[in-house]
Symmetry: C2
Subunit: 143 residues, 2 copies
């Protein structure tokens, strides 16, 4: 189901700022902060406000349409979320975020942590950082 139908069915309207924010997020492979989204859209001639960007991001996250990722420098970025898994690996060179399927592998880890700590695990935060294949090749060439 596309995001517009989902919004409508949840009782929300398809406004201009919402379209613009989603379009921008879908057009990039790198997580974008609220401010970055605002600045890029303004540069493209859009007339939305930064407040709308914040409100839109909050709404989209709550509906599961986009995911938050923690950038290495501490800022919070947003990427479109696919259905299912929402774990990301970030390239430290080109900043691309790539999803990976880790659910079944995580199950084992969760089981071990529960045994070890006696906690009941209900949620987790998992991200990897590294260098993507493209950027590995680039550094090889220049070497």
């Amino acid at each position: 189901m596309d995001w517009q139908k989902l919004l409508t069915q949840a009782g929300f309207r398809i406004s201009k700022p919402r379209k613009q924010v989603m379009q921008l997020l879908e057009s990039t492979q790198t997580p974008q902060t609220a401010l970055a989204i605002y600045q890029q859209l303004r540069a493209q001639g859009a007339r939305l406000s930064l407040v709308s960007v914040y409100r839109t991001l909050e709404l989209f996250v709550s509906l599961g349409l986009i995911s938050m990722v923690y950038e290495p420098e501490g800022s919070l970025g947003y990427v479109p979320a696919s259905a299912g898994h929402h774990h990301y690996i970030l390239c430290q060179v080109c900043h691309r975020a790539v999803e990976f399927a880790g659910t079944e592998d995580l199950a084992g880890l969760i089981y071990q942590v529960e045994n070890q700590t006696q906690f009941l695990v209900s949620d987790h935060l998992l991200q990897f950082f590294g260098v993507c294949p493209k950027c590995q090749n680039k550094s090889k060439e220049s070497a």
Copy 2:
């Protein structure tokens, strides 16, 4: 090695604010934000400034003396770091943070993610959230 020796050997001084911040962090089991640390120390009669708390936390993190944890609500908390692993599981009821050893289990996960994404993994962010044994018992009793 205790933190004061480590600080000295790294060329830093043992100042009053640094002692106070470390003492407070060591006295609690729950991650504390910069502001919370400041407010508690002031309530105890300490005369340090919030700026010093920020500076001290930054220094301690860079030296590996404390770790940052992401709170579910989005704020950043700090806890004393033990040598070695720095992965935490947070209780959503009492907010305690407990370290767990997950290095060897993670190795397998990292291997699979590298294979799947062709990334070279160099770092990761991993936290669990759940309910600790004590709080599980409490909810059983009241039920």
